[in-house]
């Protein structure tokens, strides 16, 4: 069931000043890491990773543009179109997993953390943000029973620095069977490089401009792969050699642009 259906916003939860979670009823079977195309009728359609995957699904929206601003302002009862779930999911296996999230990346990792904790996998999560007031899903991760480590770029809470810096430190301290990461691409590239050096399997979730979500329009082309169907979750070893990783993305006209 990936074709467009109309859902109504059940509720919205403010996660921080610029980020809200929108919850809606949808019975499709989604796995952690998958995404949906969210249609705001009359405005736009954008890809969003699930932050909740049960029947009461959720997407977590960082207010960065016109479409996300409209989602930010959504209220109970508003109609949205969704199609999906699309894409590949996280592999959640082993005895211990390190999750590394930066900014809104925590949204995509939370369902994976839930599945991991539910399967008795020892889980540590690094949640990073620019500043303390922008941290999201910290309470949710704590209530799941995960070992939660926090980083802020400005040092306003716990570790001062990027999530990737804290992640490298955590990797030194403990032993992990896998690493899953979602956040700014350069941060993820640092994590992937470190994991591959240590021989730890690592998966990353990428974000690109998308149109079809179905692997045909080529808008999310990434070194011959497509983020919508070959990803959004990729094995680090499969993409570390791709020139675009952490550096380039495609704009709406298909030209290559530097990731800011």
């Amino acid at each position: 069931m990936t074709r467009t259906r109309i859902v109504r916003v059940e509720r919205t939860d403010v996660e921080c000043s610029h980020t809200v979670t929108i919850r809606f009823q949808d019975e499709s079977l989604a796995r952690p890491g998958q995404f949906v195309m969210v249609w705001i009728p009359g405005l736009d359609e954008v890809p969003m990773s699930f932050s909740y995957i049960g029947d009461l699904k959720g997407v977590t929206v960082h207010n960065v543009g016109e479409a996300t601003a409209a989602l930010h302002d959504a209220s109970r009862g508003d109609k949205l179109g969704i199609r999906g779930p699309f894409g590949r999911d996280y592999r959640i296996e082993g005895e211990s997993i390190l999750f590394v999230s930066g900014g809104t990346g925590a949204a995509s990792l939370m369902p994976a953390l839930e599945v991991a904790m539910g399967s008795g996998i020892r889980s540590t999560i690094v949640i990073g943000a620019k500043t303390a007031s922008e941290l999201i899903f910290v309470d949710r991760a704590i209530s799941l029973g995960a070992d939660v480590r926090i980083s802020t770029d400005d040092g306003s809470k716990e570790y001062k620095g990027f999530a990737s810096d804290l992640a490298l430190q955590v990797l030194q301290e403990g032993s992990f069977d896998r690493v899953l990461t979602c956040g700014p691409e350069r941060m993820m590239k640092t994590v992937v490089t470190a994991c591959l050096e240590k021989g730890i399997p690592v998966q990353v979730s990428l974000e690109r401009f998308m149109r079809c979500g179905m692997g045909i329009c080529d808008s999310c082309s990434f070194g011959g792969l497509h983020v919508c169907v070959d990803g959004p979750v990729f094995d680090g070893k499969d993409i570390i050699e791709i020139e675009d990783f952490g550096v380039f993305r495609r704009s709406a006209d298909g030209s290559r642009e530097v990731i800011p």
Binding site: T2, I6, W39, R211, C212, I216, D218, S219, A252, D253
Partner: protein, 304 residues
């Protein structure tokens, strides 16, 4: 083992299954991947004179038996696309450059830049059903089709194909114009003009309202068009529209197409569809005792 290679307008292809324009052809690396997946040739996304963002999303909606899209000819413009063609040159199959434009002059210029960048042939987009002043807006008028084909023929040495629209009363008119203007072949069909409306919101699904329907729903329309074209024009025909399997491709070949193109099936069966359809054609030819692809071309027209 049947011979799967074909020759169209002087182009030698290892098999008759090409990538259709508009699908997976915005980047050189995707063209290479489609070639690796088994295609006999790849056609680029339609490229224009300037960068173009296309329509806002939603640009694609999936229906029961097809997909409607109105991407709006998004492309980086020929100057930037030359870099993608350099990457595409690594593909071990011919790369065909699809061109759209507002006038014969603009299209000739883009075609000649494409030729310089190494494409093996040009495909003129005279059939995009959802963009203003280009595509089908030119292609619906046989006289304009003729003058565009003549002009582009004069500006390049590689073969020139014209992709024509099914959204006219008689597809033969434009095809005759292509043939009379010394065009090297016809690609038929482009998507069928269509719309889907979301009842709950009372709005068309696509931001542009109208789009082009592709996928299984249009295969019988495409097969009929190719059948009619084969009876009326002598230049080679490339069949496209709703091909998912080897048998679908054989319908087009038997209607008279020398080769076929695949687009939406890359969604239905994944990017591996190119190699799979080639295999399926080969198995069919072996099973039914045909020695080559050429043996089935146009046989649906035979008496008895």
């Amino acid at each position: 083992m049947a011979d799967l290679s074909v020759e169209i307008a002087g182009l030698r292809l290892r098999n008759p299954v090409m990538l259709a324009s508009g699908i997976l052809g915005e980047t050189g690396s995707s063209l290479v991947r489609v070639a690796e997946a088994g295609a006999g040739a790849v056609v680029t996304k339609s490229i224009g004179a300037e960068p173009r963002e296309g329509y806002p999303n939603p640009t694609v909606v999936e229906l029961e038996a097809g997909i409607i899209n109105a991407v709006g000819l998004a492309n980086p413009g020929i100057a930037a696309y030359v870099d993608e063609l350099k990457v595409a040159a690594q593909a071990e199959v011919p790369v065909i450059g699809s061109v759209f434009g507002k006038s014969e002059g603009e299209m000739s210029e883009i075609a000649s830049l494409m030729e310089e960048a190494g494409v093996s042939a040009i495909e003129l987009n005279l059939s995009c059903p959802h963009a203003r002043n280009v595509g089908a807006e030119l292609g619906k008028d046989p006289e304009t089709v003729g003058s565009v084909v003549s002009a582009v023929k004069k500006s390049v040495h590689v073969p020139v194909f014209a992709k024509i629209t099914p959204n006219v009363t008689d597809v033969v008119d434009a095809a005759l114009a292509v043939a009379n203007s010394r065009g090297d072949g016809i690609v038929a069909i482009n998507t069928v003009k269509a719309m889907a409306i979301c009842p709950e919101t009372g709005r068309p699904f696509l931001s542009n309202g109208i789009g082009g329907l592709s996928g299984p729903a249009i295969k019988p329309i495409g097969v009929r068009c190719v059948y009619e074209l084969y009876e009326n024009v002598d230049i080679p025909i490339v069949g496209v529209g709703g091909i998912l399997t080897g048998k679908d491709a054989l319908e087009y070949l038997m209607a008279g197409a020398k080769a076929v193109q695949i687009g939406s099936a890359a969604y239905y069966r994944g990017i591996e569809v190119f190699g799979r359809v080639v295999e399926e054609i080969g198995q069919f030819l072996d099973e039914y005792g045909y020695e080559s692809v050429g043996d089935v071309v146009g046989i649906a027209h035979d008496e008895n």
